[in-house]
């Protein structure tokens, strides 16, 4: 009974976007030696997916979505530590590494993409802004993502997208990941020219492209 209450509490904390509440519930899950995978799958995931649906239907707004994603991230950290300690494994839709390219400090668009992807069940590693080609390469080796997403808002930094793709080829990593590019300075023809796998003109299309490339339903 307590178990169900805790899982409901995790879900509710994500929906309300209150990190402290979610972390406290996740810590109780660990303390009571409940199944962390179950807590993740039945608590956090339905919570964030409900928020994602609310956003898509116009009932919720970006601040709600972003705070819920932050809440999920905080609680997931507690549960994931337990998952890897117990050696169990949770199902994954796919893993995405995201970042804004070197020389560009624009953060918001990429953050919205990250948030929407996590609300659709993806594991998202957000590298941040001003990410050098070497940092992308290192992240691909370390995280082994299914997709890397790169953003450039400035025209003068758009060339960085091509540089990262060339580096991936040089390092024999290009076949291991799908590459999606987007941001204000990126056109679909430029994406084709640098041989990206996909182009996301905005956050929603970026998510759709990710799902398409990984053959994820819905």
């Amino acid at each position: 009974m307590i178990e169900n209450d805790l899982i409901a509490e995790l879900k509710e904390a994500v929906i309300q976007g209150i990190p402290e509440k979610a972390v406290a519930a996740a810590e109780r899950v660990v303390e009571l030696q409940m199944d962390p995978v179950e807590a993740f799958e039945s608590g956090l995931k339905p919570g964030i997916s409900e928020v994602g649906e609310g956003f898509a239907s116009g009932k919720l707004y970006l601040p709600d979505l972003v705070l819920s994603a932050e809440t999920m991230k905080a609680a997931a950290k507690v549960l994931e530590a337990e998952i890897s300690r117990t050696g169990t494994k949770r199902s994954e839709v796919g893993k995405v590494v995201l970042g804004t390219v070197q020389g560009d400090l624009h953060d918001i668009g990429k953050t919205i993409v990250a948030t929407l992807l996590s609300s659709h069940g993806f594991d998202v590693i957000d590298l941040g802004v001003n990410i050098s080609p070497d940092q992308y390469i290192e992240a691909v080796r370390r995280e082994k993502p299914d997709v890397i997403g790169m953003s450039s808002l400035l025209t003068v930094t758009a060339k960085e997208l091509g540089i990262v793709i060339s580096k991936l080829k040089e390092q024999d990593l290009r076949e291991d990941v799908k590459v999606i590019v987007g941001g204000g300075a990126v056109t679909s023809s430029y994406a084709e020219e640098i041989e990206a796998d996909g182009y996301g003109q905005n956050a929603e299309l970026g998510v759709r492209m990710t799902k398409f490339l990984l053959s994820v339903e819905g």
């Binding site: 116009g58 707004y61 970006l62 601040p63 020389g103 400090l105 624009h106 953060d107 918001i108 668009g109 919205i112 400035l154 025209t155 003068v156 930094t157 758009a158 060339k159 204000g184 300075a185 056109t187 023809s189 905005n202 956050a203």
Partner: protein
């Protein structure tokens, strides 16, 4: 001698003196306690030598209030932006109001209404339209991206195209090190540029922008320091908080400019825009943008600096009613608030698209708003007391008086795109709407207008600078 702008004699205000003081005091606190991250080493050194507390490891620079006040005191309250044709120079500051063109990433083809990447030829054509339209007092580059030039040097190319196709003044850039080359270009063309510096909110001066501040200050070109927090995203969700952040960022950049060259011209420029919480887009056509513009003008006056805004803007994708009502509201607010440098002409879709058709419509909006600023001239001749007595009641009328023939033109504004004829005449002349009429005007000007050419010697030097920029910037 300078270009005649409009004059805003009694600026509309939105903040009380006490509220401005609160924004100022709060800004000094943030500058002193949190500071700004400055990504350029040489700039940090200049700031440290000038009295800032600098951590080169974290790149954080904290500004003592006395130094900030010193920098504000160094700023001239007006300065000249010198054109190669002295009649086109701008006298920036005081009660003068000028209008400028607005850039896009792409441009909107007038006949097909499709977005296109600009080529060198397209860009030249768009600059010629800016040259032709009288309400474009000064230019910001109509397009910021060229499809047929390497991205490393596209801004250098854009500026060269501007210098070749207009003798009006132009705004500079600092992205990707472009300021270094532009100051050389304007020098050989015997003119100045208004250097454009973009602070990255919150609280970062990127390396190329810091370098741009130094390039423009040290070369004697005036500059605008532009801060554009997105309310709710890269700035607080409240307008007051966003104005504090914008103020902090502009003042921080101003300190660097004044340390590099005390007394250099700096324009206080706002670009604060709310983020739309449904789409994550910039709500650039919103009323809040206009409201914050009024406050921006007040803050600039408080500091004794010329003011500018990087809008009016719209989120509309085509020249349509939304484009017109959003831009008109903002243009009206900016002008009546006495913003010295306003950018209404040609922008669509936030900064996404530059539209020649919208340019022509905006030219008309600017004429109307300028007319508002001109106000009403009241003197004996214009009060027309004797005339009213003379004409008396019906069947007397004024159309047949010499007074009407003498004065009507100075008081009337004949629209170029707006429809005034009665219905049947309008139908008989093809039932053309505003967009159709503006398209015809834009096309005709783009195809036929001839700007004053750049002197031959300047052209040769300009070409050499482009070649040198390509040699240095393009990694083979």
């Amino acid at each position: 001698m300078a270009l005649e702008g409009f004059r805003c004699k009694n600026p509309y205000e939105i903040l009380s003196a006490d509220e401005i003081e609160k924004i100022h005091v709060g800004s000094l606190e943030v500058l002193e306690e949190t500071g700004i991250s400055v990504a350029d080493r040489r700039s940090r050194q200049i700031l440290e030598d000038g009295g800032c507390q600098v951590d080169h490891e974290t790149e954080r620079v904290k500004f003592p209030p006395d130094l900030v006040q010193w920098a504000i005191d160094q700023c001239p309250d007006r300065f000249t932006l010198r054109a190669r044709n002295p009649e086109l120079s701008l006298d920036l500051g005081g009660d003068l109001v000028y209008f400028a063109s607005f850039p896009g990433f792409t441009w909107l083809d007038p006949e097909t209404q499709t977005r296109r990447e600009a080529s060198v030829d397209d860009c030249a054509m768009l600059v010629r339209l800016c040259d032709a339209l009288p309400m474009v007092h000064t230019l910001c580059q109509p397009v910021a991206h060229l499809g047929d030039k390497p991205p490393e040097v596209e801004l250098e190319w854009v500026h060269a195209i501007e210098l070749r196709n207009t003798d009006k003044t132009i705004m500079g850039t600092a992205f990707g090190g472009s300021s270094k080359w532009l100051v050389k270009m304007v020098e050989v063309c015997d003119q100045q540029t208004l250097g454009g510096i973009c602070i990255a909110s919150p609280l970062v001066i990127p390396a190329d922008q810091a370098q741009g501040i130094l390039d423009y200050a040290e070369s004697g070109n005036p500059q605008l320091i532009l801060s554009g927090p997105s309310k709710g995203a890269t700035g607080p969700a409240t307008m007051a908080g966003t104005l504090v952040l914008q103020n902090v960022e502009i003042l921080g950049g101003t300190v660097l400019a004044q340390l590099a060259n005390p007394g250099c011209g700096v324009m206080y420029m706002g670009y604060a825009t709310p983020m739309d919480m449904r789409f994550g887009t910039m709500a650039s056509g919103s009323a809040e943008v206009g409201i914050m513009a009024v406050a921006t003008a007040q803050l600039a006056r408080y500091y004794g600096m010329p003011s500018g805004v990087f809008f009016p803007m719209t989120d509309a994708k085509t020249p349509d009613p939304q484009a017109v009502y959003e831009k008109h509201l903002q243009t009206f607010l900016c002008a009546t608030a006495g913003v010295n440098y306003i950018m209404p002409l040609g922008g669509l879709d936030n900064e996404g698209t530059h539209s020649p058709v919208q340019m022509v419509i905006d030219n008309e909006i600017c004429r109307m708003v300028g007319k508002v600023l001109e106000g009403i001239q009241v003197d004996e001749e214009r009060l027309a007391i004797d005339l009213i007595k003379e004409v008396g009641p019906v069947p007397g009328n004024y159309l047949k008086t010499e007074h009407t023939r003498q004065h009507w033109q100075e008081e009337y504004l004949i629209p170029e795109v707006g429809v005034r004829e009665e219905f049947n005449t309008w139908v008989m002349s093809g039932s053309k709407g505003v967009v159709e009429r503006a398209t015809e005007i834009a096309r005709q000007l783009m195809d036929t207008h001839q700007p004053n050419p750049l002197p031959k010697e300047a052209e040769v030097e300009l070409q050499k600078i482009l070649v040198a920029a390509e040699a240095e910037k393009i990694v083979q």
